[in-house]
Symmetry: C2
Subunit: 197 residues, 2 copies
């Protein structure tokens, strides 16, 4: 009976709470709540398939109704823009506005965290990342949650040539930067878990 997993849970939970507090602090100039800041951060990292209310709500673990409310607020404040999808007119697409980009640039929501990890060697961080990533994947498999991930580990990812990529699921070409964004169609390659270089 090893208690370490519970200690890890406690740490993740506490750090999560602190990050949320930090998010509140960061957003208070603009009268934003932490969820709003998290939403903006997500949108800054989501690829073209994943910039929808649906994907956002699954990423943040809130219901689509709540997500809709938050997006309404962010729209009113001019931090995001909403536009309809051409192919499926039910789908709403989201993007950061210039103001939204500027906000993230000024507020630097991740600064405090980067500071807090300054004394930890890159190697230890990579190990922790690997363990937590595996935990996340397992948790999501257990709960039928959406996976989210970058092209690098995705089974739909195809390399056409040195600099040309393609998503086998959607059939689109992808640029280099595209492949490093977050995608909610992500599916882990093979069934093995957590190989980090």
């Amino acid at each position: 009976m090893d208690k370490s997993p519970l200690v890890l849970l406690d740490l993740v939970s506490r750090l999560g709470n602190l990050m949320r507090t930090e998010g509140r602090r960061v957003g208070q100039d603009e009268q934003l709540q932490s969820v709003h800041v998290e939403a903006l951060v997500y949108l800054s990292k989501a690829n073209r398939y994943s910039n929808t209310p649906q994907a956002l709500s699954e990423y943040l673990g809130i219901t689509k109704g709540t997500a809709s409310q938050s997006l309404l607020l962010l729209d009113r404040r001019g931090l995001i823009e909403r536009y309809q999808d051409d192919l499926d007119r039910r789908v709403v697409r989201l993007r950061l506005s210039a103001t939204g980009e500027q906000f993230l640039y000024d507020a630097q929501p991740q600064l405090a965290w980067q500071h807090a990890t300054r004394n930890i060697s890159p190697n230890r961080i990579r190990n922790a990342v690997s363990a937590l990533r595996e935990t996340l994947t397992t948790f999501q498999l257990d709960n039928e949650g959406t996976a989210f991930g970058e092209c690098a580990g995705c089974q739909h990812f195809e390399r056409l040539s040195a600099r040309a990529y393609r998503c086998g699921l959607m059939g689109d070409r992808l640029s280099g930067p595209d492949t490093r964004k977050i995608c909610w169609l992500y599916e882990e390659k093979g069934s093995g878990v957590g190989e980090d270089e």
Copy 2:
């Protein structure tokens, strides 16, 4: 420029959100929100110096006003008991009621997490714990937050004999189990960071 710290942030943040969602799920039979569940878990682990609204609010990263509200609700539901401190009559002490204990026993808020970590070797978990603990400590030092910890690493901790312990700050004797609870008077031994046995 290593991006690992940001990836780690993202993982912690997502896992934190998932744990909050899990907390909501666990509490919905009793009509509890995730914060309430977290509060109960905290109280089940807090030592005699740390079972106050103040300590709870700092632990959860919420204001004392909010904590007061949540505690009111938990009291109404009969999950906790509140009583006055003998020495300082401003201080309110908190304890789980029998119902509260039973709730935690039945609901097992940590079960999903334990499941999610089942494939990760104890060693990798301990490494992750060590890295995250250090991050937490640094973060708290940066933000003048309260540290929280167990006697084992605390500079006030004194061992009187094989089985008798003492808190040098408060001057009290401590039982064995006492020394393994969470204390908000915790102060890291020395100034070095993150020695894990």
